[in-house]
Symmetry: C2
Subunit: 646 residues, 2 copies
């Protein structure tokens, strides 16, 4: 009902005005759509907020957070009026942009434009995949929609455009995009920077396109969403909204990101014929919101019953489904007992390992950005496509950024997903990797071709600064294993983490087989690989350089130098260890040298000296390129000897 | 002629076979198009390779480099047969992917997919802009086309999709995309990952779309390019090529990235009826290529004459044009003599500074990714659009990545360009920033809202790891000025650099006005801001934390502690100074502490201890957030005192 829409608008304005900060424009325009979605469609309930089969809703325009918090409050979620009054204040559960885990009912952290639709794509893939795998004719455990609100800005972002193309290709018809088309951005009308000719554009991408000219007419919104739900194609509904609707700033970009203020809010209220004082809402409005969601609790109870029946009737499938519910993808200790460890590129090891783990975890998904043949990151049971929803390999095409965001979306839906690309192209996915870390998702990002050892492809394809760039992200476990054993340790570790995404940095070239390390040691992120007592210097290395450090240590003996070799597989894990452990590994009273075929930036946090690469790479045979950067045992030994002479 | 096409194919195969590395598939399919373009259209000449009004050609599929080198060789550029025989070898001028500056005739470094079309967009904007500004009815200094080859993969990349939308919006009709549509990628047919329904898709974006079904028919290629040149819309021509054409691997993805080998090359030669031994080409083929370009030298000579006439007739305009030719955007020493320096946000200072410099450099361009109103990065003379080619402000929309690549394209065409976005969104542009550094372009990337002081917008909008991530990129000058004076110093420095891109990291909040520093000091990247002799500790800071360090130093006096304060505005500049200078600034025998509201990662390369932030940010009032992270003089003083007690 209209008064519920206006209550949503005004409550949201109250939040913004009190905070003296926020984004009123989108809320005033989009409120009727949000209301209709929540009131008439969204299958969620505050009484079972983590219901696995609930509809998902992503607010891609995360700056419209005040509206989402108001919706959650009105619907009986654990967001109080006091929380709304603390909007955008330190320590509140109502921060500037919605944050997963912080606020009940928030399905994804959003704010950085473009990520939302791609995340929703991942959720929709998860839904199709789980439905196909677990549903039985009599018992449907998974059957929900994924809705995503987006604005004009989202549709300009490359990551969204990549995702749109995949959504159309995969015919994800349970994904419904609610496009808040107000044609105004921060800098002015969208026409300044160009939009698209919507209908033919979206149709050419394989979407069912609808347009709602007057979203003040709630029944037209309802009809469009109903039709979208029935479509065999993914849907986009363009709502021709007015930014700042009914306020004196309606249609103007200046109501995008600044509070209306009291005076304009008063005029707005008059225009809306809305009379409640700030932060007050009538009972009938509360009832309208709550009663709508109440019926969903009945649906939930049936679902919970069905889950019990499912457990009885299909105990094996239930076991697999339970892993999804629990987000439990841990790897049994003995799985790799008979694995044939050998000298090989760690990208090859990972391919085999993913294959083996895919057999015990039937919902583990993997996929690569058109580099399956090079990264060996590949899911089981064929390609996921419109005809094979059991396929657990996703062909992302050359869409690294969407791959990152979709990987997050899959993980948001408890379908553990692994992505694969060349390490240098981790740059393309950085915003999504960051979001995974911020959302505490267990996304796994695998990157191969990890150094100048890429060789012939040259500097455009040779990572240099990617290791420091990723290591500096909070809550991200970057691991660069040194051999086949550790590659599997790293994947096992990544799968055991529930609140931290992992990056595995793997080699293109063969890695010698080293001694296996204990799981305890691995968890410390660094350990001694070779030792002398007493020793003269500590060499620290990761990945392929561990073998180089070991060889150099051998060579140094000829010169009477005893070099301890420490491997640091993960600075993230190492940083968490006690200072005493650190000093026992890399004593402060002796020289120490970090050896890494990457930018030296940051390594002085670990050793006194660094042996790295501070220019871009070179094109040539891998061994020539490596030699040209002095990464040979002879040159490294020279460096050590000169250091010790100082 | 056909034999010239086949010579191009086989010479390219010879390179790849000899190197035992490379990408034959694209070359065999696209050679007829490349030949036709070079033979019948491309306005370039090896006799004046840097001719400013030459056509530009970007090989977005940089992995087809062997073809480009063969074209350059056949056309008489400074690429010898020996160079072709050194393809992909260390130290050659024929590396794995084309590299600007390394090889004559290469207009852009390419390889990372997606960048090429966006760079070409920048070049085409530059062409239109310079043409409008400098051409006279009788004297046209600028009148050329920009051609860009691209493959299926490019058209999946978000940065390309962003750029396509802008190209259509801006109606850049002198940009012609030659789409090598072979429908095969590394992982198999494009249909695995989804393509687009080309014609309606490109038309909805504002392109003139043509399709050439059989590119073996050279006259159909020629006709299509002729029509594209005449169109009032930007053009895309889809050439339905066959990957690995005429080889036994034709149509298969396995000829994408691995040499054909001798046997298959022999069959290929038979199929093509081509009989020359490896690295041999008939005279008639050489003549065919060279004579085609020779006529362009005549055009060049007329242009050079015209330039002289222009100098005489329009001396003032010539002076401005000469700056473009010389890539000279340096700022006169006295320009800011009457600038009103004040306490303000550095984003505000930069806005005014760009305005002033735009008045003396009439081809300086700026633009923001829908954040003009927040970053104040804005070009002069109105918005560049189809009706105003003199406009030097580019409205990029929320397309950060394309903005980065277009900024590079503009700079490739000697139109100095500045981009603007929030610092956290530098992540979206990282691949383009890296390419600018790799290409030694003077691109200027301005990022505002540089820390947790963003406040209410919260962790999604608060940079933490962006400083280390960018500082680790080789050949990139990241500057974080501390006040209005230095903001202008930083911009001045950025404009003086010709072979290094710059990143300016600016504040959202007000910065106190400090004493100006000399240009010599600034160039050292770090200098003493406050001193005591003797002193107890060195505090090092950048940006807004310089004032905090100065205040803390004052406070510490009360506790009998004398703290030297060093500002480090640019680690890039500082890293280049002598060790003796470094030690004079931050003595090794005293405690030192780097104070930065950012990830501490990397700062131990500069000081013994670090006072940073190793989690994501928080949403709240800026001052509350800052305080919650202990960035107050009281807390910092406590830290210093506890350090000194150790």
């Amino acid at each position: 009902m209209k008064s519920s829409v206006n209550a949503l608008r005004i409550l949201s304005m109250d939040e913004i005005n009190k905070a003296k900060s926020g984004h009123p424009g989108v809320v005033l325009g989009f409120a009727p759509v949000a209301y209709t979605l929540w009131h008439d469609f969204l299958k969620i309930t505050p009484k079972a907020k983590d219901w696995f089969d609930r509809d998902r809703f992503v607010l891609a325009s995360g700056h419209a957070s005040s509206m989402l918090y108001a919706l959650l409050h009105l619907s009986g979620y654990n967001v109080t009026l006091d929380d709304l009054k603390s909007f955008r204040q330190l320590g509140s559960i109502t921060p500037g942009h919605p944050e997963l885990h912080l606020t009940d009912g928030v399905d994804a952290t959003s704010g950085p434009l473009g990520q939302g639709i791609a995340e929703a794509c991942g959720m929709a893939i998860a839904e199709e995949m789980l439905a196909k795998r677990f549903n039985r004719d009599d018992l449907k455990l998974i059957d929900h929609y994924t809705y995503v609100e987006c604005g004009d800005g989202d549709l300009q972002e490359g990551v969204t455009l990549e995702a749109l193309s995949l959504i159309g290709h995969l015919k994800l018809n349970k994904l419904i995009i609610l496009f808040d088309s107000n044609r105004v951005q921060l800098d002015g009308p969208v026409s300044l920077a160009g939009g698209v000719n919507s209908k033919p554009y979206f149709e050419s991408l394989g979407f069912f396109y609808q347009s709602v000219k007057n979203p003040e007419n709630l029944s037209s919104i309802k009809k469009a969403i109903e039709k979208a739900k029935e479509s065999e194609l993914p849907s986009i509904i363009e709502f021709h909204t007015i930014i700042g609707y009914a306020s004196p700033l309606a249609g103007l970009s200046k109501c995008h990101g600044a509070p209306l203020g009291e005076e304009n809010t008063e005029i707005l209220k008059k225009n809306l014929d809305y009379n409640m004082p700030p932060f007050k809402v009538t009972k009938s409005v509360y009832n309208d919101y709550k009663s709508a969601l109440d019926k969903n609790y009945d649906a939930y109870k049936i679902w919970a019953e069905n889950l019990k029946k499912y457990e009885e009737l299909y105990p094996e499938d239930y076991k697999e489904f339970k892993k999804v519910l629990d987000d439990n993808y841990s790897v049994p200790l003995n799985l790799f007992d008979y694995f044939e460890f050998r000298e090989e590129a760690s990208r090859k090891t990972i391919g085999k390992a993913i294959g083996m783990i895919s057999e015990i975890h039937k919902t583990l998904v993997a996929g690569s950005a058109d580099l399956t043949a090079s990264t060996f990151v590949k899911g089981a049971e064929g390609d996921f496509d419109k005809d094979n929803h059991l396929g657990r390999n996703i062909n992302y095409g050359v869409r690294e950024h969407a791959m990152g965001a979709i990987t997050n979306g899959l993980n948001l839906h408890h379908v553990r997903a692994i992505s694969g690309a060349f390490f240098v192209f981790s740059d393309y996915m950085k915003p999504s990797i960051r979001l995974a870390a911020l959302m505490h998702l267990p996304s796994i990002f695998i990157f191969t071709h990890d150094s100048i050892a890429v060789g012939e492809d040259g500097p455009t394809h040779e990572p240099i600064e990617q290791l420091p760039g990723l290591r500096a992200i909070p809550n991200l476990n970057v691991m660069r294993p040194a051999d086949a054993h550790e590659t599997i340790d790293a994947l096992t570790k990544a799968l055991s983490l529930k609140g931290t995404p992992s990056v595995l940095v793997l080699s293109r070239q063969n890695l010698k087989l080293l001694n296996p390390v204990s799981r305890d040691d691995f968890d410390k992120g660094a350990y001694i690989r070779k030792d002398y007592l007493p020793f003269d210097i500590t060499l620290v290395a990761s990945g392929s350089e561990v073998s180089l450090a070991l060889d150099t240590s051998d060579l140094l003996l000829d010169f009477g130098v005893k070099a301890r070799v420490v491997e640091m597989v993960s600075t993230y894990l190492y940083d968490k260890t006690e200072q005493s452990y650190k000093e026992s590994l890399i004593p402060l009273d002796k020289p120490s040298l970090f050896v890494e075929m990457a930018s030296p930036y940051g390594l002085k946090g670990y050793t006194k000296e660094v042996y790295g690469i501070d220019t871009f790479g070179r094109s040539g045979k891998a061994e020539d390129v490596i030699e040209s950067f002095d990464f040979t045992k002879e040159k490294l030994a020279e460096k050590v000897i000169s250091l010790l002479k100082k």
